[in-house]
């Protein structure tokens, strides 16, 4: 809760284009991402190699983007929730629910067609997807009602669904992993369109729609106002409760979409493991992107970059052949470094320190 009133700022400097670029809030997360990619460039041979295989692009970068897609979606939803000073830790459970519903409804039964085994969907895919998204929306509405209607603290309100949601998903499947045999469904997770993974188009579409919604309507302004000063927002005539309800529904919708993507990608629904700890990664992505958990100002693009940072890091760890024991240590160290690089205070101290060293040496 650092009020901007207290942040010490240096004097005005002439805003050249370069300095404006450096000062841009997205500069630091972006720089962190670029730095990580540079590390890959040096340590992983052929990291930037892209080739056309079976008519589509193939390579590490594509993998990262593809794998990051669900995380980006979850982070986009989480951004809005966090902007209202809330938090949603049920994202992983919603992923499990929507994936399970879709997988169970679609499933796939084998029929012989002209002597060739063919799989057809149990339920028309459109209906199944609608049902899955409907389930996700219900989850969001539930969270939203608990927070906005009942006034529960967001973390407990969503904890309820976090615990019970996965249980529900397992209840549907009897604890089994539901395998899907119906091909068109896979397109969602591992299909390609114009040479690029289909999931990227989904993410881009959701991002664009959300960004437009924030820009072209007053939603962005209202969400920030509610996050920064709910009392003032109410007195200014905002429907604070409806707004809060909306962000939780939106967050769950994003999570639901992510769930579909994940289950389509592995061609099955794993109620127990799908999206496990996704909520933590999503929150991490949002904060790495420069949005404060205290609510208010938010950056959708920042969250996307944050998610890419996380996925690149994970992928890097796999690629450079580190023993799994030290995965976590590496991850934590990188997160610390990224955080520090974003801290103005750290930069000042570092500068003072360097100046002192130089002074001592002279």
């Amino acid at each position: 809760m650092n009020s901007p009133l207290l942040t010490l700022t240096s004097g005005p400097t002439s805003p050249s284009t370069a300095s404006m670029f450096v000062r841009h809030p997205l500069f630091r997360p972006l720089a962190a991402l670029v730095l990580l990619l540079l590390v890959d460039l040096l340590l992983v041979p052929g990291f930037f190699h892209l080739e056309i295989k079976d008519g589509h692009l193939y390579g590490s970068l594509i993998d990262i983007a593809n794998r990051a897609a669900p995380l980006v979606l979850a982070a986009l939803g989480m951004t809005l929730v966090i902007a209202t000073r809330g938090i949603d830790i049920s994202v992983g459970a919603v992923v499990a629910i929507s994936g399970t519903v879709a997988a169970m409804l679609i499933g796939g039964t084998m029929v012989m067609q002209d002597g060739v085994p063919e799989y057809v969907a149990n339920t028309p895919m459109v209906w199944a997807l609608c049902a899955a998204m409907g389930a996700a929306l219900l989850c969001g509405a539930w969270n939203g009602l608990l927070v906005a209607g009942l006034g529960l603290q967001p973390i407990v309100a969503t904890l309820i669904l976090m615990v019970a949601g996965r249980g529900l998903a397992q209840l549907f499947t009897d604890g089994q992993i539901v395998t899907v045999y119906y091909k068109p469904f896979f397109f969602l997770g591992s299909g390609y369109l114009f040479g690029l993974p289909f999931s990227l188009y989904i993410v881009a579409a959701v991002f664009l729609v959300t960004a437009l919604l924030m820009r072209k309507t007053a939603l962005g302004l209202f969400i920030q106002a509610v996050g920064i000063n709910p009392v003032a927002a109410r007195l200014a005539g905002l429907k604070t409760a409806v707004l809060i309800l909306f962000v939780y529904v939106f967050c769950s919708a994003c999570a639901g979409l992510a769930g579909l993507m994940i289950s389509a990608n592995i061609k099955s629904a794993d109620a127990n493991n799908a999206g496990l700890l996704l909520e933590l990664d999503a929150i991490l992505a949002v904060t790495l992107g420069g949005t404060s958990l205290a609510g208010g100002k938010f950056s959708l693009a920042g969250s996307v970059i944050g998610a890419l940072i996380i996925q690149t890091l994970t992928y890097t760890i796999y690629s450079i052949g580190l023993p799994p024991e030290i995965n976590m240590v590496v991850k934590s160290v990188v997160v610390f470094l990224v955080c520090l690089s974003q801290s103005a205070e750290f930069k000042n101290m570092w500068r003072a320190f360097r100046a002192r060293i130089k002074g001592g040496a002279a």
């Binding site: 998903a169 397992q170 240590v329 934590s332 205070e345």
Partner: protein
């Protein structure tokens, strides 16, 4: 839906009331269990609640300080695991005397917390992200020591594990006693010392606290150090309890601790609540689990659903009663 939190003036008193409601509901929960399952209300079952949740209670106490100050500490579960690991390693591989090991473990825990607190305060980083990274780091360090679990056979630890302190016809473990003493000490610190009050002030409004001339930086670093200390102490209790060090111990305990603190009536935004609430919160969670264990018919998923459901009913009733009381005023 207009009965919202966002009411500026009148909502202030509710968290205090919430703490009371929690205790009342806890009693109702226990009574319900007693009616439904024979043997549920035996003294030993109640003591088991304390014995089995001693480590959670200690963590929740540390967490309640952090939450009261408006922060959050996600690293506690991992610090607990790291403590068990370091203790086991020092005991089994280095053969250090157990008391020394305990002192080292507690110091490391407090130091770990203090370091995170310092980063949070001096570099103005968000507590969530710093402690999340701390959580990865501590867990990762466990695996650097060993990915296996290490059994502890130090006589002092074994004694602490197996001693039964008789009380009221049942028994409690030394660990449970330590937890209760920690709670008592924390309540004293929170309500009767300047440090404790500074925590509330920082949670109420950090900027104001600074303008009022409080040592906000020192307070924040100390809070996280205390939380780290509590996590380490919980780790020590856990290694008494399990007699082993293991990197996978206490996964997700941070969420349990946060839930316990919040259910106990503390506001996550800081400034409102009681440290004692963490006890009622922990007991509520423990009772829910015990109820399920006594029932013994629920499958894995029903267990989750029922835990979620009970949590919901509990929060709902708690909230409605608090709202009702406010309206009557």
């Amino acid at each position: 839906m207009s009965t919202m939190i966002l009411r500026g003036r009148a909502w202030m008193a509710s968290p205090y009331f919430t703490s009371l409601v929690t205790v009342m509901l806890l009693i109702v929960l226990l009574a319900a269990g007693g009616v439904a399952y024979p043997g549920f209300l035996s003294m030993q079952v109640l003591f088991n609640l304390l014995i089995d949740n001693a480590f959670l209670l200690v963590i929740a106490v540390g967490m309640s300080f952090v939450i009261l100050s408006g922060g959050i500490d996600l690293s506690v579960g991992s610090v607990l695991a790291l403590t068990t690991m370091i203790s086991a390693w020092l005991l089994q591989s280095w053969h250090l005397p157990p008391l020394l090991v305990i002192v080292i473990a507690l110091t490391l825990g407090a130091g770990f917390g203090a370091a995170m607190g310092a980063m949070i305060h001096y570099f103005k980083l968000q507590p969530f992200i710093v402690t999340l990274a701390g959580m990865f780091l501590a867990r990762g360090l466990c695996y650097l020591i060993s990915i296996n679990s290490i059994t502890i056979d130090d006589p002092l630890y074994v004694a602490m594990s197996q001693t039964q302190l008789p009380i009221l016809g049942g028994f409690i473990s030394p660990g449970a006693l330590i937890a209760v003493l920690t709670l008592a000490a924390a309540i004293y610190v929170a309500h009767c010392t300047p440090f404790g009050r500074a925590i509330y002030a920082v949670g109420g409004n950090e900027q104001s606290a600074l303008m009022m001339g409080l040592r906000v930086g020192r307070t924040k670093v100390l809070i996280y150090a205390f939380s780290g200390f509590c996590a380490a102490l919980a780790g020590v209790l856990f290694s008494f309890y399990m007699l082993s060090g293991y990197g996978l111990h206490a996964q997700g305990t941070e969420l349990d601790a946060i839930a316990a603190v919040v259910i106990g009536g503390t506001l996550l935004s800081g400034g409102y609540g009681y440290v004692a609430g963490s006890l009622s919160g922990v007991l509520v969670l423990g009772t829910i689990q015990t109820l399920i264990a006594f029932d013994g018919t629920l499958s894995s998923w029903w267990t989750k659903i029922v835990i979620g459901g009970l949590l919901f009913v509990f929060c709902l009733v708690q909230r409605l009663m608090a709202l009702g009381a406010k309206h009557k005023k």
